[in-house]
């Protein structure tokens, strides 16, 4: 029982980070209808910036702010610089360009900083609070969870309640019609990328202190997990990202705890297939499109 509680708590903390990063994938998907394979590498660049800034100023929070700014900037540069050359005829072209961006960013980071990991400190203690003899969430885990849930709520609000959200979604779904209605589509797409990249950078920044340290590949597995999460939750749904993240986090934790780490990827595959066979558009899929 204690063990279960412990594993659940661990999984939740991990899942919150997955959720946050998945949220950034959902954002770009909503804004531009691309699965951004470069999201992880972009977030790592921003995290390097945060690392440098924190090193210079000694303040985690200034570092965090600079990661957000740098993340947003990366989004701007990647969207304006390369993504807009993607052919709109085929969504594949965006995916391929994103893969190219991953290669460019990771190799540049490798050339500039080498392959070694740099440790990063968390702003809050990572020692778990002990409840009834069982170590559960640490203050840092709680911080991550709160940020994830808060941000998700905020974004859900933006998307469903504000006109900005409406325009963001419309631009992604039907750029031409949106322009005919006076929506500044190019600006909306850029805004989506900036927002998403900033969220992605935040997720990577929150992840690194719980892992080995910062290196060019820090977010590789994060991307894969988060993509899974986004697909499980439904790519169009911010709440889906949150729920999916927590579900996947807990699943990995339980499987690792009871069956072994090796089995975890298989369990994730199993979950993915099971969810999609029942709901082909993810847990929070919109109604199926009428086809005739």
């Amino acid at each position: 029982m204690d063990r279960l509680l412990f594993l659940l708590a661990t999984g939740l903390a991990r899942g919150a980070i997955f959720a946050l990063f998945a949220l950034s994938l959902v954002l770009i998907w909503r804004a531009a209808r691309v699965v951004n394979f470069a999201q992880g590498a972009m977030a790592v660049v921003a995290t390097y910036v945060a690392f440098a800034v924190t090193g210079l100023t000694g303040s985690y929070w200034i570092g965090l702010a600079s990661a957000l700014v740098a993340g947003g900037l990366m989004g701007l540069i990647v969207e304006r610089g390369v993504m807009r050359f993607a052919s709109h005829a085929s969504p594949l072209s965006g995916v391929i360009i994103a893969i190219g961006v991953v290669m460019v960013l990771q190799s540049l980071l490798g050339i500039a900083f080498g392959p070694n990991a740099r440790p990063m400190e968390a702003p809050f203690p990572e020692t778990p609070i002990v409840l009834g003899g069982v170590p559960v969430l640490s203050p840092y885990d709680l911080f991550v969870l709160v940020v994830a849930i808060g941000l998700m709520g905020l974004l859900a609000l933006i998307f469903t309640r504000t006109s900005l959200g409406l325009q963001l979604r419309a631009s992604a779904f039907a750029p031409e019609v949106s322009r005919l209605l006076g929506v500044r589509v190019a600006r909306m797409v850029t805004a989506g990328w900036v927002l998403a990249s900033a969220v992605g950078a935040l997720a990577a920044l929150l992840l690194v202190p719980t892992e080995l340290g910062l290196n060019p590949h820090s977010a590789d597995m994060l991307f894969v997990s988060a993509f899974t999460v986004a697909v499980v939750g439904g790519l169009d749904s911010p709440p889906g990202a949150l729920v999916g993240g927590l579900v996947v986090g807990v699943l990995i934790s339980l499987v690792t705890g009871y069956l072994g780490a090796t089995v975890a990827p298989i369990a994730v595959l199993g979950l993915l297939v099971a969810v999609l066979l029942v709901r082909p558009g993810g847990l929070f899929a919109a109604t199926e499109a009428r086809t005739a």
Partner: protein, 418 residues
């Protein structure tokens, strides 16, 4: 067309007789299809040319040639899948691995049973095809229900889970180490004639030729037509009696068998198969090959395979020639090829959306793969009469008043070889 004049158009069926009665009798044998025999002849010639080319290459180039041929099996299958059915698989590395393991396990069992040489190869290849077909079938069943990124997600996680599978069932798959097989030398009859690398290249070329010809025949036939129908408009295809689910499963399975054959050839050439060789990065590289070669085109898949096999080597060789400090050399050695590859990828995708194939002279392009269509004669008469209507670049101009769902929710629009 008639709209160009105000007079009633000549071709209205107003004066035509009863419509449905005489249809069966009309114009027997007016087949639109290129004869399969011609396709086979082309394949034969190209295969012979490739075999001949191996005599001009040194062993290491022949080894690279074999790698290209093996990769070509997989990319050909992938390009067919993406180009003809619009299903994006990020998991073709796993399907190749399935073929590789099928081949290796069968080959080892046969070795234990005292079988070797060509019989061992053929039976193991069949086992590879069977293993990859099975995995492809399972994936295809999922794929029939999934769209766009959801399918990509499943295939992506499959590749990620591959090492876990080999570790969990390490009794069979031998974990990270992978499975090693006995060395297959040049058959005695040829031993004085060619080196082992050239022999391996021959085997790789023959397998690739068989696989790609099979895919080409498939694409040229009714199955290909059905796949394109499902990709263009699934609902409409179902209304024409096409069993969409079955078509998708078939496409996935066929594509998987091709990938599996590629994996088997790789295993044959390198005498081993291990999960580390079939990573997500490699899977993505296969997609990259298919896209920069030109989606849906077998020639494109071939060109793409050349690029992904040779480019890293070319760039690495080039960096090796630079005179750098130890530290800089070390950072650049591995990273510079990746950087150049990335930049190239972006530039090619942005500048030539049709891939390298589209940038080739037309004559080269059309030779390789015949496509369905009426005899060219008819086309030119129409062209003379109505230039505007045959412009192949014209997009659908009268958007059909139907719901347009998000691009990724619909099959990925791609072009097939024209």
């Amino acid at each position: 067309m008639s709209a160009r004049t105000q007079t009633p158009r000549p071709q209205t069926p107003r004066t035509a007789g009863p419509l449905t009665t005489s249809i069966r009798a009309a114009r027997p044998g007016a087949s639109a299809r290129r004869p399969t025999s011609r396709l086979l002849a082309t394949a034969l010639v190209l295969t012979l040319v490739a075999i001949g080319a191996t005599f001009l290459l040194d062993p290491y180039r022949n080894y690279q040639f074999a790698l290209i041929a093996a990769t070509f099996c997989a990319t050909a299958g992938l390009t067919l899948l993406i180009g003809l059915t619009g299903q994006l698989s990020l998991g073709h590395a796993a399907l190749m691995a399935a073929g590789g393991y099928g081949y290796a396990l069968a080959a080892n069992a046969l070795t234990d049973a005292g079988v070797d040489g060509v019989p061992r190869f053929v039976v193991s290849l069949a086992a590879a095809a069977a293993a990859s077909a099975l995995l492809g079938l399972l994936l295809g069943l999922a794929a029939a229900r999934l769209k766009g990124p959801y399918l990509s997600g499943v295939t992506l996680v499959l590749v990620i889970a591959l090492p876990a599978f080999t570790a969990v069932f390490s009794g069979v798959f031998r974990g990270d180490q992978g499975v090693q097989i006995a060395y297959d030398g040049v058959p005695p009859a040829l031993r004085t004639l060619i080196a082992v690398e050239q022999w391996q290249a021959w085997v790789a070329i023959l397998v690739a030729a068989a696989v790609v010809t099979w895919l080409a025949v498939l694409r040229n036939g009714p199955a290909g037509l059905r796949m394109r129908a499902v990709r263009d408009d699934e609902t409409s295809a179902r209304l024409q009696g096409v069993r969409a689910g079955r078509v998708k499963v078939l496409a996935f399975t066929a594509s998987s068998i091709a990938a599996g054959a590629g994996g088997a050839v790789l295993c044959f050439v390198t005498q081993s198969v291990s999960p580390g060789a079939y990573t997500l990065a490699f899977s993505l590289l296969l997609v990259v090959a298919v896209v920069i070669g030109g989606l849906g085109s077998l020639l494109g898949a071939f060109l793409g395979s050349i690029v992904i096999v040779l480019l890293p080597w070319v760039i690495q060789t080039a960096t090796g020639a630079l005179d750098l400090s130890a530290d800089a050399a070390q950072r650049l050695t591995g990273n510079l090829p990746v950087l150049v590859f990335g930049v190239l990828l972006i530039v090619v995708t942005a500048a030539w959306p049709g891939g390298i194939r589209a940038a080739l002279p037309k004559r080269l392009r059309t030779k390789r793969m015949p496509r369905r269509g009426a005899p060219p004669m008819q086309t030119s008469t129409v062209a003379a009469a109505e230039p505007a209507t045959v412009t192949p670049t014209a997009a659908p101009r009268h958007p059909d008043p139907e719901p347009r769902t998000s691009p990724a929710a619909e099959p990925i629009p791609t072009t097939t070889e024209r």
